[in-house]
Symmetry: C2
Subunit: 445 residues, 2 copies
């Protein structure tokens, strides 16, 4: 019911192509900036830039640019005039502005930082922390009150500050040395008498993170405790900023995308343009190539066997394919389980054991099917050899696919890399070795 | 800094194994229920049940059970006494209780629903909607006020209702016929004079969803507009409930998991036990098997070629593997792009075109590498045939991998199914066909 609909998107595209400035302005007047940002994704760079140029309201333009993809934002700001960059950044929330400044080319970043007004010292502070840590995604605008202040005073302070603080989720209570000692909700300010001191109603055990806490862990806390925001505190217990749940939503989406890309063997990085896209993917494919050449060498060892029973070559793909796919399935279950906490490192052994059981069941099932086909088509001996090979390959693939992510995770690596060409290639090699050795033994070659 | 740490988890496990009731109770006293729910994932069913049995505080137990995995919750409630089930459900938020009731076996569900007190008529209402729609994930507890009411009246009402309403994110303003006409924040109640009518400060354009809106779309709205909650309204504009951002976090995590599982060719369903796990995975593997048998038949056609130049068999895996992995990469980029809106159906052609370009670049790169290996190892003719084949396979795989998800999505299917055995198998068959035909033509066989 909300959102820009398909028809509006098509209209926008037509208007931009026709350079119908009047029509575009009329359309923009009834479009939310967030919707415009989403609709812009399907325009070309040139069209996007032309569209932004038609926006007169700088606050509207800033909101649009805070919501477009990182790639477009970088493209846009790199090519924009310095004055415009500064003006737009000043209209953004500090955490959004920081994301953009981070991606600017070095020379432009320094110049822009110097021009940002003193109130935007925030942006400079935020740049200190790694971009995937709590410090890198926090906003410096937390609503703090002394614990000795009363509810009435907190409400009065909120009324005074309402221009500065965009959204207030909680009231953070600090002691005389600015250390975080408690938290309470806006609602509790309303449900207590105005002269109640905050210390009397605050919750003392505040869920908090440090500035270097990984953003994925921050997301896990916010999700687990159903928080609207979590404070980031330094070693001395002072609040550096807050991370709000909308930022956590972005983190969860980004991390899911990253896991998916890693699983398909792609590294992160700029993705505009075919050449850069190719670079991102070439690394893992190189591993596949090396694995493949190794496999060619291994199959070469069995050249004599193949020359004798050429029909054996036909089963190489299905035995590799079954093993590879089972391995990917087990690895995916493991990666997802580790990410959500359903597979614990401590219980890793139990998980690998279950995957092995699954592998044996699947192995028996597909051994029967493939063996029947092989036996009917090429004789009972071929059928038996193929059945035995596929059963062993699947069982091994399942155990390996389940074990590698758990092992990687124990070693402190990201388990998602396990399901790409890494698991597939090692399972493939194993499957081919099993196949030829079983075939030679059973066929007496 | 928050959260149950590894050492506490290990301690908990030891205490449960030793059935040290006293120690467990002491540990529970300083553990948040959400942390306990997470820590429980690594215990066996029996241990989990024993642990729940040791919790005396029913509210604590209800919170733990609202936070454990769906599987454990189902296992637990299926085997629990009816009286206990009802008591625990009554202590949960209606949306959490609904999730659990939904998963109960039919006979138990009806008996439990009849015993839930009248105030939990809510649960019965929520069960009407599909579990992955807005109606299925909403909570019926929205804070509503007449638009003619004043800020002071709203605050007074909030103070009266504070037992019932767990978390209040927004004040929803309704007209005389209970239709949603505006929304405002708790904070604006504080920053306006108590006699200001809500109608004077409310925002009239309320982002809202219908009860049948897909949960994924709800999540997209909440993320796009940075909302803390979104109201669910019926055809007549009356509020049925609200969906809060913490529920949206769960939706995003579930949907990412679902996409990942689909991409690995696994269907959803109960996942406890090796037999059920095997069933979930067998469907897609069946497709791999059929594809593999087809491939065996195709390779069989070229048996004479293979018998003449047995070394050709050695390159089957690497040519299939390169094609398959490139296809998966393109499909993953497409699936992710479609999910986040970065690849638009309207711009689908442009995306497939770019994937084809990426494929050609990667094809040229790996043709050079594999051709050099083949040439040095087995002579220039083999090298040339292999190089040409890998180049064509990669280019085709990239275009196909990019196109299939876009096509599926246009047909209204979930594009994630494209990257499993489906893309791999079709790309594999194509790669083998390309390989043998190129080899025969170039080697003059």
């Amino acid at each position: 019911m909300a959102g820009i609909n398909q028809r509006t998107e098509a209209l926008l595209r037509r208007l931009v192509r026709r350079e119908a400035a009047g029509g575009i302005r009329k359309l923009l007047a009834r479009t939310r900036p967030e919707d415009l940002a989403a609709a812009m994704e399907m325009l070309t760079w040139a069209e996007q830039r032309r569209l932004i140029g038609l926006i007169d309201d700088m606050d509207y333009a800033a909101t649009v640019l805070a919501n477009v993809s990182d790639e477009f934002a970088r493209q846009f700001f790199e090519n924009a005039e310095e004055g415009l960059v500064v003006e737009l950044l000043e209209r953004m929330e500090p955490d959004d502005a920081t994301d953009i400044v981070e991606n600017l080319p070095d020379h432009l970043r320094d110049r822009v930082l110097n021009q940002l007004e003193s109130e935007d010292a925030d942006v400079r502070d935020l740049l200190e922390w790694p971009s995937d840590s709590a410090g890198g995604i926090m906003s410096p605008l937390a609503f703090k009150m002394r614990q000795t202040a009363t509810c009435g005073e907190a409400i009065a302070s909120l009324q005074r500050q309402h221009e500065e603080l965009e959204a207030v989720h909680y009231v953070y209570c600090v002691d005389g040395e600015e250390r975080l000692v408690g938290v309470t909700s806006l609602r509790s300010l309303l449900t207590h008498a105005p002269d109640t001191p905050l210390v009397a109603l605050m919750t003392r055990e505040v869920i908090q993170v440090g500035p270097r806490t990984d953003q994925e862990e921050v997301a896990r806390f916010v999700a687990r405790y159903d928080l609207l925001a979590v404070p980031v505190v330094d070693r001395n217990g002072r609040i550096l900023g807050i991370i709000t749940v909308d930022d956590v939503l972005d983190v969860i989406e980004d991390e899911a995308a990253e896991d998916m890309m890693l699983m398909a063997g792609m590294s992160e990085g700029p993705s505009q343009g075919a050449f850069q896209q190719s670079l991102r993917r070439a690394g893992w494919l190189m591993a596949t190539l090396v694995g493949g050449i190794l496999m060619a060498e291994i199959i070469g060892i069995y050249e004599a066997t193949l020359a004798t029973v050429a029909v054996l070559a036909g089963f190489i793909p299905v035995i590799m394919g079954m093993g590879g796919n089972v391995g990917i399935q087990s690895a995916t279950v493991a990666v997802r389980g580790l990410a959500t906490g359903h597979v614990q490192l401590g219980g890793g052994f139990r998980f690998v054991f279950q995957e092995a059981q699954v592998g044996i069941l699947l192995g028996l099932l597909f051994a029967t099917l493939l063996g029947t086909y092989g036996g009917v088509r090429f004789g009972i001996e071929i059928g038996a050899a193929v059945a035995m090979s596929v059963c062993l390959s699947i069982a091994a693939a399942s155990a390996i696919g389940g074990a590698i992510p758990v092992l990687l995770s124990r070693m402190g690596a990201d388990p998602a890399i396990a399901t790409g060409p890494f698991v597939t290639t090692s399972v493939d090699i194993l499957a081919v070795l099993i196949y030829f050795n079983v075939a030679r033994a059973m066929l007496g070659l």
